[in-house]
């Protein structure tokens, strides 16, 4: 997650010269009591959750002694904020605050530069005081303009003797934002205590997803902006993306608790960010609720599309699978078709699937999908492929019709079908998988077929198909091999199987 908890961002502030209240995180009430005892005196107990109204909803409480701290922590650790269950609290020495400032470093997309937002009166309710917030431009190399900062402070009631300290603190905050590639870094309030110290009393920090790779020191598990803690399935999907950077792969689960009046939960597989959103809007407007949002685009490999489909369909209770992107893809669409066809066959899909595969290679793509899925001994669900001249509104209607015809049949995730010849026949490894060829059933005609459809990767030896290139060369050819497997199945010569296990899904049971 590319958001840091308050205590995590405060550790960064402290490390780079911005004072924070003394304290630390606790994940149990007993731990909170110990911390309070060590700190001595009154403490604040703060839920570590990514919400804006934490104080107003009881997520920040005060305690006079360790016993009270324990009680407060125990209360807070049972709270939920939206999709977040609280699993940690921050226990801090209480500050004696004399003045509060609001300081935030954020990205100004119009200026193509960072900006410091400064309000001379911090604290809660800052959102409603937008007019009084000063905007100070930040130069990506030189930081914030200290002169401008001093000019703003000059209009405040803050003791002039403290201006230098406030300026230094804000400069340090900007430097931390730059150093850690922050998308936003908000200190609310930056407190001036009665004894004249400048202390960051609260801190919220998000890191740019695309820069997380530069910061192995940060406690970020998955680089994603989500409105909930990452789910098990999201973690699995993230690992798949990290293992294969060919094309975009984005997966997020969406809230499914509010489906009153919905036609049902669906698995959603888009292609391209904008096309995905447009398609999501189309299928939502006919009454469905997305259980998840997945996007594979930018010329993804067949293996990646296959894994995406399997992850989408690892969610229980879906009434259908809806796939649609921009509809006029620049990339060749048959790679996606092979990936989908393989996934639908392996899990024996039993809910309707409608997939718009418009763009380059769309005729071939739709033929592949229909060929595999309409085979009588293949899968039971209706699977329909569409092309660029079929509008999203039309396919959304068609999808609704198919779901209605299926009369509310809901999906239960299935373990994948693995042919019997796997584990006991000819095989070779590829990246994150293994290719199996059933030599026992390779009659001469089948061998010829397999070799001809292997794109030069296989050759004939003793009338059997074997690897023609080095293992290193074949390792990244998963798209070609998935295509071969599907073509063999289409030709009723199912002697090839590309085993592409998904860590966490196939290797240790289902989700």
């Amino acid at each position: 997650m590319a958001r840091l908890h308050e205590y995590q961002s405060k550790a960064l502030l402290a490390q780079h010269g911005v004072a924070v209240p003394e304290g630390g995180p606790a994940s149990s009430a007993a731990e909170a009591a110990q911390l309070a005892a060590r700190l001595g005196g009154p403490v604040a107990v703060k839920a570590q959750a990514w919400v804006t109204n934490r104080a107003a909803t009881g997520g920040v409480q005060f305690a006079q002694n360790p016993r009270q701290a324990e009680a407060r922590a125990s209360e807070i650790l049972q709270m939920r904020f939206g999709n977040f269950a609280v699993s940690e609290v921050l226990v801090e020495r209480m500050l004696d605050i004399h003045h509060e400032l609001f300081v935030s470093v954020t990205i100004d997309d119009a200026a193509q530069a960072p900006v410091v937002l400064l309000d001379l009166h911090g604290g809660s309710g800052i959102e409603s005081r937008a007019e009084s917030v000063q905007r100070l431009p930040v130069d990506t190399r030189r930081g914030v303009d200290a002169q401008a900062l001093r000019a703003v402070l000059g209009t405040s009631a803050i003791d002039a003797g403290l201006h230098d300290d406030v300026v230094s603190a804000i400069e340090a905050v900007v430097d931390i934002a730059r150093r850690y590639d922050a998308r936003s870094l908000e200190i609310n309030p930056l407190a001036i205590t009665s004894d004249g110290n400048v202390v960051a009393a609260d801190c919220r920090m998000t890191i740019d997803d695309y820069a997380v790779f530069r910061h192995p020191e940060l406690p970020i598990e998955i680089a994603r902006e989500l409105d909930h803690p990452a789910t098990q399935l999201e973690r699995i999907a993230y690992q798949v993306e990290q293992a294969d950077h060919r094309g975009t792969f984005y997966f997020a689960q969406l809230p499914t608790d509010d489906v009153e009046g919905s036609r049902g939960l669906i698995g959603f597989h888009g292609a391209g960010g904008g096309g995905s959103m447009m398609s999501m809007d189309a299928v939502t407007s006919v009454g469905f609720t997305l259980a998840n949002f997945c996007d594979t685009s930018g010329n993804p490999s067949a293996a990646k599309v296959y894994r995406a489909a399997r992850i989408i369909l690892a969610q229980r209770g879906l009434v259908g699978y809806f796939g649609s992107g921009s509809g006029v893809a620049s990339q060749e669409q048959y790679h996606s078709a092979y990936g989908l066809a393989k996934a639908f066959w392996e899990i024996n899909l039993s809910i309707p699937a409608v997939v718009r595969l418009g763009g380059n290679g769309e005729d071939r793509a739709v033929d592949i999908l229909h060929g595999v899925c309409r085979d009588a001994d293949s899968i039971s669900a209706p699977v329909e492929g569409y092309k660029k001249d079929d509008t999203p509104a039309f396919i959304a209607q068609r999808f609704a019709q198919l779901v209605d015809e299926a009369a509310g049949r809901a999906w239960t995730p299935q373990p994948r079908r693995v042919p019997a010849f796997v584990d006991r026949t000819y095989h070779f490894p590829i990246h994150h998988g293994t290719v199996w060829i059933d030599h026992e059933h390779c009659d001469p005609a089948t061998t010829t077929f397999v070799v001809e459809h292997s794109g030069g990767l296989l050759t004939q030896r003793s009338s059997l198909p074997v690897l023609a290139v080095s293992e290193q060369t074949v390792a990244g050819m998963d798209s070609e091999l998935v295509a071969l497997e599907v073509e063999c199945r289409l030709a009723r010569r199912p002697v090839v199987f590309v085993d592409l296990p998904i860590e966490g899904l196939d290797t240790d049971g289902s989700v």
């Binding site: 119009a110 193509q112 820069a211 409105d227 809230p255 960010g273 809007d281």
Partner: protein, 314 residues
């Protein structure tokens, strides 16, 4: 006329020896783009698709002369270095195709571009295509698809397309063409939060392009580009009709929807706010994407009929 790219522009490809660089150089040349050189550090001396390869941008310019546009195909984390090199070598327009460019890198590129009077499209852009003329980037995928999909300009019937989504750029171009609309230029501004040439800037370029009769927009949740376009319309700096669709009506706050820029943060950048801002300014915003071509045709017909001119979309 067209904006940003036509066949007269001299184009350099940075990262030309990479997988994408090679494939896209072929597409661009097949479509008519004047690719004059390529560069990849350490790979100078050879040729790709008949294009000479040099080690650096400066060497390329020395070898082949002036370069108008550099299109960059290097991995996201290396884009800043490549872009800065081109800007410092005097290239005035860059097209940054890769995704996963860190945000602060983009802002540093923007600062360098401002300093040197340069501009950039992207990052995370499919590029820019002027039908029948030239393409920079990868819109269309194959040259023959791009030729079939996108109409050339048609008098009094030509729109400029600007989009925050690459796929939707092609998609809009295709559906508008099929409906009989001509296209001056298709611009994918890029999917990130900070882009070099945002929608309002592109709209102003279309406003000044005599061949463009109207502007068709695919917008998305997040950021302020659509709101800023509404401001330009309101202030009279963009007076050509704007026909728009905004994606993300069903999006929830706080979750990023694939594109780095497609996230509603602190209640800003919502679908409703963008639609409202554009409608208040006088743009035609459709709720169903499928209605865009017909709405565009209707508005163009209204505009070219002299009697209806005063009561057009404005």
């Amino acid at each position: 006329m067209a904006i940003i790219i036509d066949q007269s522009k001299r184009v350099l490809v940075q990262g030309i020896t990479g997988r994408e660089g090679q494939a896209r150089t072929k597409l661009m040349r097949d479509y008519g783009t004047n690719v004059v050189a390529g560069c990849t550090p350490g790979k100078g001396g050879g040729e790709v698709e008949g294009v000479p390869v040099l080690d650096t941008v400066a060497e390329a310019i020395q070898a082949v002369g002036h370069v108008d546009i550099s299109v960059v195909f290097v991995p996201g984390p290396r884009v800043e270095t490549a872009a800065t090199e081109a800007i410092e070598a005097g290239v005035k327009l860059l097209v940054l195709v890769p995704d996963r460019v860190p945000l602060w890198d983009t802002m540093r590129i923007a600062a360098a571009a401002r300093e040197h009077g340069a501009a950039f499209v992207g990052p995370n852009t499919l590029g820019v295509l002027s039908p029948g003329r030239a393409v920079v980037g990868m819109i269309g995928g194959r040259a023959e698809s791009a030729q079939q999909w996108f109409n050339e300009p048609i008098p009094r019937q030509t729109v400029g397309v600007v989009s925050r989504s690459g796929g939707m750029t092609s998609s809009l171009g295709y559906y508008l063409s099929r409906a009989g609309v001509g296209l001056s230029t298709l611009v994918h501004v890029g999917g990130d939060s900070v882009v070099g040439l945002p929608i309002p800037d592109v709209a102003e370029m279309f406003q000044h392009d005599p061949e463009t009769d109207a502007i068709v927009l695919f917008g998305e949740i997040g950021g302020t580009q659509e709101e800023r376009l509404a401001e330009l319309i309101r202030s009279g700096r963009v007076t050509k009709p704007v026909i728009a669709y905004i994606g993300g009506a069903a999006a929830t706050e706080g979750t990023r929807f694939s594109h780095a820029g497609a996230i509603i943060e602190h209640g800003r950048g919502t679908h409703a706010a963008k639609v409202q801002a554009l409608r208040d300014a006088g743009a035609a915003v459709v709720d169903d994407f499928g209605l865009l071509p017909q709405t565009t045709l209707d508005i163009l017909a209204n505009r070219s009929a002299p009697a209806a001119r005063s009561s057009s979309a404005r």
